[in-house]
């Protein structure tokens, strides 16, 4: 079944390739074979707006139309519109009651012209040639007709399939039929006919014809040889190209495999680095832990005994002695703060981050109140925008705001009154949160030092601090994938912007 289907579709494809000026003979042995070629031939013509003429003889007009309908061709409306004409031998070959090749050719020429005039692109004809077996025709005149017919095809917009039932015509007739058609439909193929004899040779007297035939046969042989050679050459070239492409593909494949290997190695390296990093992180954690204890236990003793000296031996110490001890206490406290800061900074980098919606306005308000309580006498106006939220880790964002607002509080401390603002504005489509003050400010030339740990732009005497706050802030903001930036001018205040 599948084979039959593929045979059928192969033939249909070949028939689709046919065009105006083609003259074919169809050599068939069964009705199925006949219809399998002829019906697609007609269908194609109707689709291409060609006038289709079917001359019946073996079949009745009714049978042909039924066969077309069965194959889904809308034969009825085609007949009605004049696009399809199913006629008999008496309406075509034998209109005069006898057959005359020249008259028939004249009839075809006129038919093509009137089809063109009626708006058709061309005329498509197919005829069941069994009529020629009748007494009215005579086979000699048939061959003459077929040969002469070839002369009109180049000039007229016509294509034709002449249907020959091999079981009805004698072999010598079939041979001549083959010799008078440039194209042959046989089985499921349409083939260029190398046995074709052009009309001027075919119509010559026998003696002249023979030498022309010799010439043609020799040419055919040469042509065939050339075709074979060309085919072989094409085949060889193709083989070379296939080999080339195959080796190219193999090279590509090898390259790909190399790349894949390299990638795998890279992944392995990366895994190594990751586990090294994890190990380093663990070490760091252990180190932080021991720093907090090993460094601070002696510090506790230093501070404790200095305190004890100050409290228990105060009368025996003179003023410079007490001053020195106070300095010792101050220094240990400072060192203890530094250790704390270091630890919390490293914790912030390692700790788990949980993102959620955080009400920054409420947070800022709470921090502002706490700051106010530390120095209730200071005159500071907090301007906090309402309804500012951000998506981030609540604890970390609190540290950020504590640092920014705490800094603003600290660096406005030398002014009789101050204004500290928290808000948000859109910068390049992203929410940029900001904390602004009108305090001591800073020299913009040193802006990059602001965020470096233990770097300060003011002396301890001016403004106390250990220089860890903004480094902490930057680390938190970077962990949130955001950016932080500072603007300021000496004695004109500072503004810190951050995105998260």
């Amino acid at each position: 079944m599948i084979d039959m289907e593929s045979t059928k579709s192969k033939l249909i494809k070949a028939i689709e390739q046919l065009d105006v000026h083609d003259h074919l003979c169809l050599i068939y042995e069964s009705r199925e074979e006949q219809l399998a070629a002829v019906i697609p031939f007609i269908r194609m013509g109707l689709e291409r707006n060609e006038q289709c003429v079917y001359i019946v003889d073996e079949n009745t007009a009714q049978a042909v139309l039924d066969a077309m309908r069965a194959e889904g061709v809308d034969a009825d409306s085609a007949v009605e519109s004049g696009a399809l004409k199913v006629i008999t031998k008496r309406e075509a070959y034998l209109r005069e009651g006898y057959f005359d090749p020249d008259l028939m050719i004249q009839f075809l020429k006129e038919a093509v012209n009137s089809a063109k005039k009626a708006g058709f692109k061309a005329m498509r004809v197919t005829g069941e040639m069994t009529w020629a077996l009748g007494s009215e025709a005579g086979v000699e005149r048939l061959i003459e007709y077929e040969a002469k017919l070839n002369n009109i095809f180049p000039e007229y917009d016509i294509l034709a399939v002449c249907q020959y039932n091999r079981n009805r015509f004698k072999p010598e007739i079939i041979i001549d039929i083959i010799r008078t058609h440039p194209l042959v439909i046989y089985g499921s193929i349409i083939c260029e006919n190398f046995y074709y004899v052009p009309p001027d040779e075919f119509m010559k007297p026998k003696d002249q014809q023979l030498s022309m035939e010799v010439e043609r046969l020799l040419m055919n042989i040469l042509e065939r040889k050339r075709a074979e050679d060309a085919l072989k050459q094409a085949h060889d070239e193709l083989e070379i190209r296939v080999k080339e492409r195959t080796s190219e593909l193999n090279t590509k494949k090898e390259e790909l495999q190399e790349n894949q290997k390299a990638l795998l190695n890279l992944v392995e390296d990366l895994n190594g680095v990751t586990s090294q990093l994890e190990a380093t992180n663990k070490e760091l954690e252990a180190f932080s832990y021991s720093v907090s204890h090993d460094l601070r236990a002696p510090l506790r003793a230093i501070e404790g005994f200095s305190q004890a000296l100050l409290e228990d031996y105060t009368e025996r110490l003179d003023e410079p002695g007490r001053d020195y001890l106070n300095r010792v206490c101050g220094a240990t406290q400072k060192m203890s703060q530094l250790i704390d800061a270091m630890l919390s900074l490293s914790r912030l980098t390692r700790g788990v981050m949980k993102r959620e919606a955080v009400d920054l306005s409420a947070l800022a308000r709470t921090i502002a109140d706490e700051l106010q309580k530390t120095q209730p006498d200071r005159e500071v106006e907090f301007v906090i925008a309402e309804g500012v939220t951000a998506n981030g880790d609540a604890t970390m964002l609190r540290i950020v705001l504590e640092n920014f607002l705490g800094n603003a509080w600290k660096f406005t401390g030398k002014h009789p009154s101050a204004r500290i603002e928290f808000g948000v504005k859109q910068v390049e489509g992203k929410a940029a949160y900001f904390v602004r003050d009108d305090g001591a400010g800073f020299d913009i030339a040193y802006a990059d030092k602001l965020f470096t740990a233990f770097q300060r732009l003011h002396t301890e005497a001016e403004f106390p601090g250990i220089g860890i706050g903004l480094a902490t802030v930057q680390r938190i903001i970077h962990r949130h994938g955001g950016r932080v930036r500072a603007e300021g001018e000496v004695e004109k205040g500072a503004t810190f912007y951050f995105t998260i």
Binding site: S292, A297, P298, R300, A301, G304, F305, T332, S336
Partner: protein, 149 residues
């Protein structure tokens, strides 16, 4: 007079001195017996070694126990205290710098009465010592002594 004794098991002499001073500063004038390691603590409690012949019916009112000790560790000291009928009711407060969660769990499993992390900050340390002294020696009602019972 029924003297309330504090047994301080601590190997860091600085912490010992600061703890004793903190008690004094806060008018906690009870006797403080210092054991510098686990062995000394056990000797004191059971009247062995250095403390051979001590009247062991006199129990400390509270034992302040560090965990990280030379020779016998604090956990082992606690285990021995709780596994001996003579000492199993003595209040034991673990006072340590260990932050390990496992130590806290083990401490309570073995029957400590309280677990205090030694604050690293001096002032907080002083405050913690003061508070635990006041609590265990003044506020808490101790077990009646055997001699009086």
């Amino acid at each position: 007079m029924n003297e309330k004794i504090i047994l301080l098991v601590e190997d860091n002499p600085d912490d010992v001195a600061l703890t004793i001073r903190a008690f004094k500063k806060n008018n906690i004038l009870n006797e403080v017996v210092v054991a510098n390691d686990g062995v000394e603590a056990i000797d004191y409690l059971f009247g062995t070694g250095k403390y051979a012949g001590r009247d062991i019916s006199v129990l400390p009112t509270v034992v302040l126990l560090d965990l990280n000790l030379p020779r016998i560790g604090g956990m082992e000291v606690l285990r021995r205290i709780r596994s001996d009928d003579r000492t199993k009711l003595v209040p034991v407060v673990i006072l340590t710098s260990s932050k390990e969660e496992q130590d806290v769990i083990n401490g309570y499993k073995r029957g400590c009465n309280s677990y205090i992390r030694k604050p690293v900050d001096f002032n907080q340390f002083m405050d913690a010592v003061k508070q635990l002294g006041i609590y265990w020696l003044l506020i808490n009602e101790p077990m009646p002594s055997k001699r009086r019972a």
